[in-house]
């Protein structure tokens, strides 16, 4: 609740931030509600393939005769879902790691930060591609034996591993903040009163990190969305019947030829994706300027 209040307080000061939030809410509403009013379903195939935008199909159709608007909104659901859940994974790991590292200090801190530096210097996205392609069928079998047939193994793997690669910045920032916070009188007082370390971390330090967590959460969401679409674009991410903005742009990009331009297949999904990323980045920047104590005003 506190984070929502904080968010609201910052956003209402700047008209452009309000526009961003309204735009993102509109995308969410269209993706989850509007999709039922397009007159088509996302997996409905027809003979009307590769039609330019018209009254029947506002955004045209793709190679299989899908209504592109419906496909884009379906892709939005997946892209937003992956980004949001992935960001939550990275948030949990990053905040826990950063808090422990900063609070423990000394040798533990330097060891933990050394590990972060090592991961920073590795081609993580390349490793995620290897992980996702080779763990695909083992995880599918695992899910099947657990009775979870409706769950897509690729989706699980991508959300998990992208979340597990994007936590480094969060951990660094949180650690820096905890290093400062733990020197303050209220932490000393709680220690003197005999409170446990876990309780100090959770009840006293964590609430003080809210602002910065909101900022970096907003910036992690577009990062993960970009990573996912990057992988899906290369066909090593999500696969049919699932569609994300990345797979839709990929469909368009590989249809490019000098004879006929299917511009609508590129402009609509690519444009919506770019605008969404722009709105998220803009929001993250605005929040950082307002809430990150390290940014000088």
């Amino acid at each position: 609740m506190k984070s929502i209040h904080l968010f609201y307080r910052v956003v209402k000061k700047d008209a452009l931030l309000v526009v961003c939030v309204l735009f993102l809410l509109a995308v969410l509403a269209l993706a989850f509600v509007g999709i039922h009013f397009t007159g088509y379903t996302y997996d409905q195939i027809s003979d009307a393939s590769l039609l330019p935008p018209s009254h029947a199909h506002w955004f045209g159709t793709d190679a299989n005769g899908h209504d592109l608007l419906t496909r884009i909104l379906f892709g939005a659901q997946i892209s937003l879902f992956v980004a949001a859940v992935g960001a939550l994974v990275s948030l949990t790991v990053g905040v826990t790691y950063g808090m422990i590292s900063g609070y423990a200090g000394g040798r533990i801190d330097s060891l933990m930060m050394r590990l972060v530096e090592i991961i920073y210097s590795l081609p993580t996205l390349v490793l995620v591609i290897v992980l996702v392609t080779s763990l695909d069928s083992p995880v599918a079998n695992l899910l099947k034996s657990a009775g979870l047939t409706g769950v897509n193994p690729r989706l699980v793997l991508i959300v998990l591993f992208l979340g597990l690669t994007e936590w480094l910045t969060m951990a660094r920032i949180i650690r820096g903040q905890v290093l400062v916070l733990k020197q303050q009188a209220f932490v000393q007082a709680s220690l003197a009163l005999g409170q446990s370390h876990v309780r100090i971390l959770w009840r006293h330090l964590f609430p003080n990190l809210f602002g910065i967590i909101v900022v970096y959460l907003t910036l992690t969401i577009p990062a993960i969305m970009l990573d996912e679409s990057f992988m899906s674009f290369l066909h090593v991410g999500l696969q049919p019947p699932l569609a994300s903005w990345g797979t839709l742009v990929s469909d368009a990009a590989f249809l490019i030829n000098p004879i006929r331009l299917y511009w609508w297949m590129l402009i609509f999904p690519g444009g919506l994706m770019t605008l969404t990323l722009l709105a998220l980045n803009f929001l993250g920047d605005g929040l950082r300027d307002a809430l990150d104590p390290r940014v000088r005003k």
Binding site: I129, L131, T274
Partner: protein, 305 residues
Amino acid sequence: MTAIILRRLLQAIPVLFIVVTLTFLLVRSAPGNPFSTEKKIPAEIMEQLEKQYDLHGSLRHQYLQYMGKVLHGDLSISTQYRNRTVNEIIAQTLPVSMVLGSSAYFLALVFGVTFGGWAAIRHNQWGDRSIMLTALLGLSIPSFVLAPMLVMLFALKLNLLPAYGWGSPDQIILPAICLSIPFAATIARLTRGSLLEVLQLDFIRTARAKGLSEDAVLFRHALKVAILPLIGYSGPAAAGILTGSIVIETLFGIPGIGQFFVNSALNFDPFMTSGVVIVFSVFLILFNLFADILYFVVDRRVKLE
């Protein structure tokens, strides 16, 4: 300082070891067949192939065989591109990616520093705002959206540049620009922020008080200090260009290492995949080390630990 460099290099060895082990074991334990993804191969031929490639016996045995070769600098033979060694493929494709990547890096630096500096001098004016908004757009637009758009416009509509291929100088322009845009945007933002801070410092006031021209203050004094954060960003930028180039190579049909990597990962080629991961990791570890040393040399306040 030599001791520090040595220690960092020694520290890289276990990291590389873990990364290679993980990659090889993952690809080998995946249920996919490295020799064919479609047609069924007769059992006896399969056996022959596995023997030939040292992919028979227990996983432990295969792994030890492979690591033995790697330690001798032999990355084995690709199972997907038959009869070609991984060393050979990398030797052919890495230079291509290097040319593309370094051109993009160079473009990103030139455009980033120029526009970032320009924005800082016009702090909070119209020019500053529009540059920063463009930079944010550049950060947000995925390269695989931008690249097909530029191809449609400059190659197919206006017929100015080739849409595809590699070899002639004009074929590098579009891919290098597409690859560099997000990094140019980040560098512009970093340069602007850092230059704004530097311009507030005392030594700038001194320089102005000496009667130096505004150009001299900016180029001789301020910019020199303001580009320091860029050295810190050079490591992540290299990693980003490395992965970003996979998409650009695929889109523009450039025979670089990234294309081969995606194909080998999709076809469960254990040697090619591990080989590329080794090359990428070694490159990035060395690049980061080099950036740290550079930082130390340029900024006397920094101590390498």
